[in-house]
């Protein structure tokens, strides 16, 4: 594996250049408190002093609201124009858990029917990951064999080591990128920084408050669809859906038409949530998941079993956002622990 070094002082210049050459998505602090990934015009807008963004970079590849096409229908003729909105993109500063989440989304949007909106963006995107320098109380990426300095899925992984970033070049795409911007990526000193990174990773491993062991959870869910446990858990849930919106692996969407004139309109897809009662409500009135119990169960089954069964990759990356943002403190790590206990008695 190739490794390089970026001097921190040079980073703003690199980001300014990237903003010119690419659609550059980077963490931005909005209203001083919420960190999210947005398209930026330059280094000044980028906020790298965050541990985990409030909203994941999922939207860079799968936007919260996306026009799929527009139409003109005059009665005699119907014309449909696909929305072609693909730019060469760089996602800069994504944390390892969020990069992993993209690997969970890939098989969803690819597979038998390739979702070309996602696929085109994915293909044209360079992912520059950024190791964490701190572990939050809600973090549990270690449960998924990941960690604060895990480069899986990143084209480049940057690790902040004081006045320098250690840069791991993980893919061919990353290699071409480093070559294209060679003036910012020094080779000298990389070996020394590799050791410093290893030490940082070790230190951070010791900072996890949550020690989550997934062993046996899927087996419990494989054997038990009906568990009295779900009758208890769902009662707290408000059905607000925040867990699904902040989740970097949730991919559900709805499709809407918006008329722009008598004969014209646009179709959009927008993030949706399986926590909402009308998500599965059919026009005839039948609803296979009529109460919060079925919806809460479905969400956790999806994260801990269904996604894994279907795509052979976990549907959770341990980012901890659903724990941090839930207004009634529903905690997936507590549910994992409970399910193991419930399974022993089932």
């Amino acid at each position: 594996m190739d490794a390089r070094v970026i001097n921190k002082g040079q980073l703003p210049e690199l980001l300014d250049r990237l903003a010119k050459d690419y659609a550059l998505f980077a963490p931005v602090r909005e209203e001083e408190t919420v960190t999210l990934f947005k398209k930026v015009a330059g280094a000044k807008e980028v906020a790298l002093d965050y541990t985990n963004s409030d909203v994941s970079p999922k939207g860079c590849l799968f936007p919260q609201t996306e026009k799929t096409f527009s139409y003109i229908y005059t009665g005699d003729s119907l014309q449909i124009n696909k929305n072609e909105d693909v730019q060469n993109t760089v996602i800069f500063g994504a944390r390892p858990c969020d990069v992993r989440s993209i690997l969970s989304l890939d098989p969803v949007f690819e597979g038998k029917f390739v979702d070309d909106y996602y696929a085109a963006r994915r293909q044209n995107t360079v992912i520059i990951g950024l190791s964490c320098n701190k572990v939050l109380s809600t973090c549990f990426c270690n449960a998924f064999n990941s960690g604060p300095c895990d480069g899986t899925g990143s084209d480049l992984l940057l690790t902040d080591l004081g006045d320098k970033y250690y840069v791991e070049v993980n893919t061919d795409k990353g290699k071409s990128f480093v070559e294209a911007y060679g003036q910012y990526f020094a080779s000298q000193g990389a070996e020394q920084l590799a050791k410093a990174k290893e030490e940082l990773a070790k230190t951070l491993e010791g900072q996890f408050i949550r020690q989550v062991d997934l062993g046996g959870v899927k087996e419990v869910l494989d054997e038990n669809f009906e568990l009295p446990y779900w009758d208890k858990v769902f009662k707290k849930c408000l059905g607000c859906g925040i867990c699904t919106y902040v989740c970097p692996t949730c991919h559900c969407f709805d499709i809407f038409d918006f008329t722009t004139g008598d004969f014209t309109g646009e179709r959009f897809r927008c993030w949706d949530s399986c926590m909402f009662p009308d998500f599965t409500l059919m026009a005839g009135g039948h609803n296979p998941r009529p109460t919060k119990k079925e919806r809460v169960r479905n969400r956790f089954m999806h994260k801990l079993k269904y996604h894994l069964d279907r795509y052979n990759i976990a549907g959770c990356v341990g980012c901890g956002r659903c724990i941090a943002k839930c207004p009634v403190n529903i905690d997936i790590t507590a549910i994992i622990k409970d399910l193991k206990e419930v399974g022993q008695n089932a």
Binding site: T68, F69, Y71, Y73, G75, L78, Q79, I80, K82, V108, F109, G111, K112, F113, V114, D115, D116, Y117, F225, C250, H251, C252, F253, D254, I255, F256, D257, T259, G265, R267, R269, D272, C274, F279, T280, L281, M282, A283, G284, G285, H286, P288, R289, E294, N298, M301, H302, K305, Y306, H307, D309, R310
Partner: protein
């Protein structure tokens, strides 16, 4: 013309509308570009996404068999916003169609066997694509006796009346049983619920496949009868209705466990259904 994206519909024109019941109409639809039909390649039991522009999309089963011609038929009940607008549309107006989606009835596996269709209400619509397929001149020889048992609340609620009373009974080695829930003036046929009528008809399970679709309650009681008559889980095929939106396994709303009905279904054998969580 290749579809630029699986989420983009092909323009199509409504060429015929038949009033089936007070709230069900069958729309015949032809693609504006005939090449699309050539490539469409729908198989019995598959579904499509219908676009009513300005309203959105709805997943509707294709009720026509590909053996019948270069058109698609959709029988749509007026139950919501989009279907109400569709019901107001006229011949010559345009909609969008994308698909076909989902799996199909295992018609290869059914070859050489007798077929017993059981339908209730609007749910005859997905079965009709297979009925017309096996009764077509091209394929009739491949299948044994075909029986169709169909019921609705009243005479007016029976869909596909010309098929039931004229077209299908004239086909070789084919029998049609119809029933309505309650007696009514002028109806001389059978009266009673579908599951009871199935028990009366008493089909032998020998070398037979039963294909069932109907409201959940009808299916539940009919399955109990089929079990009593000795049908195995592998001999019972059904097609599920779930809320589907994207129909390409992305939007996440039609899952039953780790299966998505839009790509892994809608057709399942009872044996397969028993492997899934009971959430449909």
């Amino acid at each position: 013309m290749h579809n630029p994206s699986p989420l983009i519909p092909y323009p199509a024109t409504i060429t015929k509308i038949v009033d089936e019941t007070g709230d069900v109409k069958t729309f015949t639809v032809e693609f504006d570009d005939p090449e699309v039909m050539e490539r469409f390649g729908n198989k019995p039991g598959q579904v499509a996404e219908l676009s009513v522009f300005g309203e959105g999309e709805a997943t509707i089963s294709i009720t026509s068999s590909p053996t019948r011609g270069k058109f698609l038929e959709f029988s749509v009940r007026r139950v919501g916003r989009l279907t109400s607008v569709l019901h107001q549309m006229e011949v010559g107006q345009k909609i969008g169609v994308r698909g076909p989606y989902g799996n199909w009835f295992p018609y290869e596996m059914m070859k050489g066997k007798d077929l017993f269709f059981i339908g209730g209400g609007i749910a005859l619509a997905p079965l009709r694509s297979l009925i017309d397929f096996v009764l077509s001149e091209q394929y009739r020889k491949d299948y044994g006796k075909v029986e169709i048992l169909y019921g609705a609340r009243s005479y007016n609620d029976l869909c596909f009346k010309s098929d039931l009373f004229e077209r299908w009974p004239k086909c070789p080695n084919t029998k049609v049983y119809t029933t309505i829930d309650r007696p009514e003036e002028g109806w001389t046929g059978h009266v009673g619920f579908v599951p009871n009528y199935v028990e009366e008809v008493n089909p032998s399970p020998e070398n037979k496949i039963a294909i069932i679709c109907g409201p959940p309650i009808m299916i539940k009681f009919t399955l109990a009868v089929m079990e009593k008559l000795g049908f195995s889980d592998e001999q019972i095929i059904t097609t599920l209705e779930m809320k589907m939106k994207c129909c390409i396994g992305k939007c996440g709303r039609c899952n039953i466990g780790s299966k998505f009905v839009c790509v892994d279904g809608p057709v399942f054998s009872l044996a397969q259904l028993k492997q899934l969580p009971p959430e449909f």
